[in-house]
């Protein structure tokens, strides 16, 4: 069996305020941050963890987040550079269903979608303050139609009927590929750890912790459902990293992202 490989796929950037990144602490001011997806080539198949944002969606619904995304930074563009087609992906795992983590699910027409059971419930019945977070329902057109949301006129979406596999609790979904429950940012949120042959395990925090500075300050982001749970999840990430001697990879950290290996330059 070939060694597992991990590719980080650059998905462009967005802008939020310092008060969004660091709840109640700030400082205020625009923060531009990266969005990326993780491709895992595993003996059991190809997995993608999160799928970034859809540029048109953001321009239509949240233009104030000032998206910057070249054609190369779409998921199709990123995979193309690796010689992989969307239909080569077997599983899409979503940490959660905020628009900047599921915007490109719709391209993976042959993949099975894996998520936490509570997350699917949450985006079906969002809290009033979560509507923008859960604004891109193109990952599940049937749900969008039930919710009365208009999807962009894309014939592909009419054809897109994803299959879902919902999970609960911590799960090893493939050998060395772990999903750990880290709720609070949203109701059903998973972080992911990948064990590799030639390096320390990689622990992808997703939005349980945007950046290293959040972790250092033990300050959660201002986008959250349950701040008490979110803070516990951040502590859990610290504990998991210590327990498995894992390296933490943050979801929206411009400084850390600059040091990551991206594209064809994989981890193994």
């Amino acid at each position: 069996m070939a060694d597992t490989k991990v590719y980080l796929l650059d998905g462009g950037t967005l802008v939020i305020d310092g008060f969004h990144v660091f709840w109640n602490r700030g400082p205020a001011g625009e923060v531009r941050f990266p969005v990326y997806s993780v491709l895992i080539e595993h003996g059991d198949g190809r997995y993608i963890f999160d799928t970034g944002y859809d540029y048109d969606h953001v321009m239509r619904v949240l233009p104030f987040e000032k998206p910057l995304q070249t054609p190369e930074q779409t998921i199709v563009g990123q995979l193309n550079k690796l010689g992989v087609k969307p239909q080569d992906i077997n599983y899409v795992v979503n940490s959660h269903y905020h628009f900047d983590h599921c915007g490109s699910n719709k391209h993976f027409t042959t993949a099975c979608t894996v998520c936490h059971a509570k997350e699917l419930e949450a985006c079906t019945c969002p809290q009033p303050f979560e509507h923008l977070g859960y604004s891109d329902l193109s990952f599940y057109p049937e749900l969008a139609r039930k919710a009365g949301k208009t999807l962009p006129p894309d014939p592909a979406l009419d054809m897109y009927t994803p299959t879902f596999q919902t999970l609960q609790g911590d799960q090893e979904i493939a050998k060395g590929l772990w999903l750990f429950e880290t709720p609070g940012h949203t109701a059903g949120h998973y972080s992911m750890m990948v064990e590799l042959a030639h390096r320390r395990p990689m622990l992808f925090t997703a939005d349980a912790c945007y950046s290293k500075k959040n972790l250092d300050m033990m300050c959660i982001s201002s986008f959250h459902l349950d701040p008490v749970a979110n803070l516990k999840s951040m502590q859990r990430l610290k504990d998991l990293a210590a327990k498995y001697d894992a390296e933490l990879f943050f979801s929206h950290d411009l400084d850390s992202f600059a040091t990551y290996q991206k594209g064809a330059n994989f981890y193994s």
Binding site: F19, N24, C219, D226, V228
Partner: protein, 267 residues
């Protein structure tokens, strides 16, 4: 029996960011907002709802919120405007125990302190992100000592308040109702006061900082449970409708300008 009177006691101002006032929505930028207390002269006694902030405490612990408070804007200063002394107050009701709502408790040394049972628990064991909000424990020296707070400086009279903690909605005196509105803090009371000559007054406490929060249905960024906080804001709207009450928000720079303030009163 004399008519119930309600006095609003100006407690000075503080500063926060627009992204504190309107969670995730803003716009950002400094907002200077008022802090005030409510004195109710009732035939059963004198009740004070919230007691503002202590200038020295804020300057020491949170100077970045730029307190502005004259001597007249302290609790003793405001009470003297209507010919009262702190010891004339029989009950202090705290909506919750954030520093800008309980800073003047220590002056009211002959009053019984009334609060939600969960509010006392919350400030005894705050979440890590609540520590700054619950930083002024001078209202409860016992809790301060347990949390390792500094003892009062020598020469300061020891303040040993009595507490009456309650839960659920309560009519604590005829026409004075405490209504549960949690979420901003664990254990939070808004207050409805019925008067003879006008519509009831509904004091939101921090369940709604301002009319704009209610209009936009946006809670503040200081919260323990945003879902509860949001429900409580809806509850305030429902209560106002049900009782045909006028809403008085806690930190509304615009509305506060139009309120009658002590020595003027509502009755």
């Amino acid at each position: 029996m004399p008519d119930t009177k309600v006095y609003l006691l100006d407690g000075g101002t503080l500063v926060m960011d627009g992204l504190h006032a309107f969670w995730n929505a803003g716009p950002s930028g400094e907002i200077r907002f008022p802090v005030y207390s409510v004195l109710i002269e009732h035939s059963d006694g004198r009740y004070l709802y919230d007691s503002g902030y202590d200038l020295d405490h804020v300057q020491r612990v949170l100077p970045f919120i730029k307190p502005m408070q004259t001597k007249t804007q302290t609790i003793p200063g405001q009470l003297s405007l209507i010919g009262l002394r702190p010891q004339d107050v029989n009950y202090v009701i705290n909506s919750h125990f954030h520093f800008d709502h309980c800073g003047g408790n220590k002056h009211l040394n002959s009053a019984c302190t009334v609060c939600h049972a969960k509010a006392l628990e919350a400030c005894a064991c705050p979440q890590p992100f609540e520590v700054q909000s619950y930083s002024d424990l001078s209202f409860a020296p016992d809790i301060a000592a347990r949390r390792g707070g500094a003892l009062p400086p020598p020469g300061v009279e020891v303040f040993t308040p009595t507490f009456q903690s309650i839960s659920g909605d309560q009519e604590i005196a005829k026409g004075v109702r405490l209504l549960e509105t949690p979420g901003h803090a664990g254990g939070h009371y808004s207050m409805l006061v019925e008067l003879s000559h006008r519509r009831p007054m509904l004091f939101t406490g921090d369940a709604a900082y301002s009319q704009q929060n209610l209009d936009r249905m946006i809670i503040s960024s200081f919260h323990l449970d945003p879902i509860e906080s949001y429900k409580s804001m809806q509850r305030l709207k429902d209560l106002a409708k049900q009782h045909d009450a006028e809403i008085f928000c806690s930190h509304d720079p615009t509305m506060f300008g139009g309120y009658q303030k002590a020595p003027g009163f509502y009755s």
